[in-house]
Assembly symmetry: C2
Homo-oligomer: 357 residues x 2
């Protein structure tokens, strides 16, 4: 049963865990992934080249220390990497859901996470952590279940998207939905899928994940081949080659419908839309927050984080706020930025000690 | 004969003029248009709703005062609004050029402008003015012909695009070129054209023309229909409706191949790539410059203008630089921003008086 009132058949959840759950099940940390993440957050499965997307953050001796914590990461509801989503078979029809998959909310994502925790018999989390859409889940989780989490880490997230944020997502969706191979979302098994639209969406998104300065440093106006411009429309500048590679590599691992659903979930997210109700929940919360932004992030800039902090403080929720200097824009949350990693490590370590973990 | 060495058959140029050329032909001002502009810069042709794209700037008593100046604006080489471009017939084949149209440079755009001026018997300009790609033409014009222009006005332009600038253009081009209706540019007369790609390109570009703050003020998170979100993928937020309208309206007036050529011209533009040669030209120039940027412009931010100013000053070219406060981002150059209009008016007026116009 989703927030919208729609129901959805049995939901399978793909997950990974790292570390060991202690006897009283008090050392669990939930990792919530962002728009295009998956359950494979850390370590590798035999191929050291294919490390998890947050291997900088999670592992033995790392900020989310798997020697101390039992770490759970699951593919989100609506996902395309193991968890039930628009590409899964609808038991009512025997065919893929496609756009028949109900629209869900960040609240629904959290409900599924809690279902997985119930499966482990875990009733309380030492911590929850996520960046971008991941941070939105952590925030919503505390609002809906103020007793669930001791330490909440919300990185470069937003309590509600700006017009510009929505605009970028809207153009990405238009690129997918106007692709003639989209077939109103029923492209599974047809041998055609909206690859062009999804490639364009991903290329555009990548521009917003990097800062202008980091693009300047990484690519500048350097050419892909030799010193002389070729004066042609195919790839000539290195930045073009990078974006094309990112766009095309994405096709191998992502489903266009999931892209539509995940971006729309973010558009509609508005954590503090009903401040009275939210305040009533948060005032009784035992959660302490760490909110982190990056000074070069223009996808969700520091103002988004400050708005979260201001709201939390207005209800006397304990919040540590840190704007970290980093040249890498929104992508910083996935990278080895020392001050950021140290801050998370100290925050989680202290919170865990306080609850005897 | 283009800078690349390629030649192109007879070039037709669509232009408009405003005001009256004086007896000694000393009062002409050339208006250079930007990426998607045309020759219709000011006034109207019977329908007051269809005023020129720079009607705030050009007209009787306006900064480019048509009571004083003879104003010329032409559609650029490679354009799609009257001047020879990729949609024109190639006399060698009897079919549209398509991608057979040679790639040209900002230098080539200027050469065509000069050809038109020769037709009027005008050997010297009181002024030249342009925003964005228009400003690039003005800059290149002075570099190539340091005796041509008394007063050069370069608004929110760049001497060379950044990696991020190129990236946005690259994604726009990919959207067009990957559209199955693109047909390698030979879509004329086939009944199909890359409308999807061009729409996506235009929608994305519009995000970069507005500032985050102006989008927030103009649209915020307001919904298109009623107060309650519809939780669907079609247009729900006002910003989505705006972008869709902009994207689709663009199809009626623009050609996808021209979009490819004009963006590529900008990517390759690098005014000061050979500073020795440029300096040698500019040091003998009699041109004075006004360089204007807008503080909320993130497409070509003030740093782009400062780089132009620094180069010009290094060769002792007289430059007035003004960063104008305006919330409207890159689009500001087309809008009635009083300080901006006053600055241009004063600059052109003074320069004209000094040459007795």
């Amino acid at each position: 049963m989703l927030e919208s009132g729609a129901t959805i058949g049995p939901v399978e959840v793909a997950y990974e865990t790292y570390g060991t759950l202690n006897a009283d099940k008090s050392n669990a940390i939930y990792v919530c992934h962002a728009l295009t993440g998956d359950a494979h957050a850390a370590g590798h499965h035999g191929d050291p080249e294919r490390r998890g997307w947050w291997d900088t953050m999670i592992g033995p001796g790392k900020p989310v220390d798997t020697d101390r914590f039992f770490v759970v990461c699951s593919n989100l509801l609506g996902g395309c990497q193991g968890t039930t989503g628009p590409g899964s078979e609808d038991p009512a029809t025997g065919r893929a859901y496609g756009l028949g998959f109900p629209l869900f909310t960040v609240r629904d994502l959290v409900s599924v996470h809690r279902g997985l925790l119930a499966h482990f018999g875990i009733g309380h989390l030492a911590g929850a952590i996520g960046g971008s859409l991941g941070g939105m889940q952590v925030l919503q989780w505390v609002i809906d279940y103020p007793d669930d989490i001791s330490a909440a880490v919300v990185v470069c997230a937003s309590s509600r998207l700006s017009a510009q944020n929505i605009a970028f997502s809207a153009v990405a969706r238009e690129a997918i939905m106007r692709d003639p191979d989209f077939q109103n979302g029923d492209y599974y098994g047809t041998g055609r899928s909206p690859d062009t639209g999804l490639t364009i969406a991903r290329m555009m998104a990548h521009i917003t994940y990097l800062s202008e300065a980091s693009m300047r440093e990484k690519f500048g106006r350097r050419l892909q081949h030799g010193e002389e411009p070729r004066f042609a429309f195919d790839v000539d500048f290195q930045v073009e080659s990078y974006l094309q590679h990112q766009g095309e590599a994405f096709l191998k691992r992502f489903d266009a419908n999931t892209y539509l659903y995940m971006t729309r979930v973010m558009d509609y997210f508005d954590a503090f839309a009903d401040p009275g109700a939210v305040g009533a929940m948060l005032e009784q919360s035992g959660t302490r927050f760490l909110v982190v932004s990056f000074d070069s992030d223009w996808r969700f800039d520091t103002e988004h984080s400050r708005e979260i902090v201001r709201h939390l403080q207005s209800w006397r929720v304990p919040v540590t706020f840190r704007e970290v200097e980093s040249p890498w824009g929104h992508d910083s949350f996935l990278l080895a930025v020392p001050e950021y990693l140290r801050t998370v490590e100290a925050f989680l370590g202290r919170a865990a000690s306080d609850i005897g973990v």
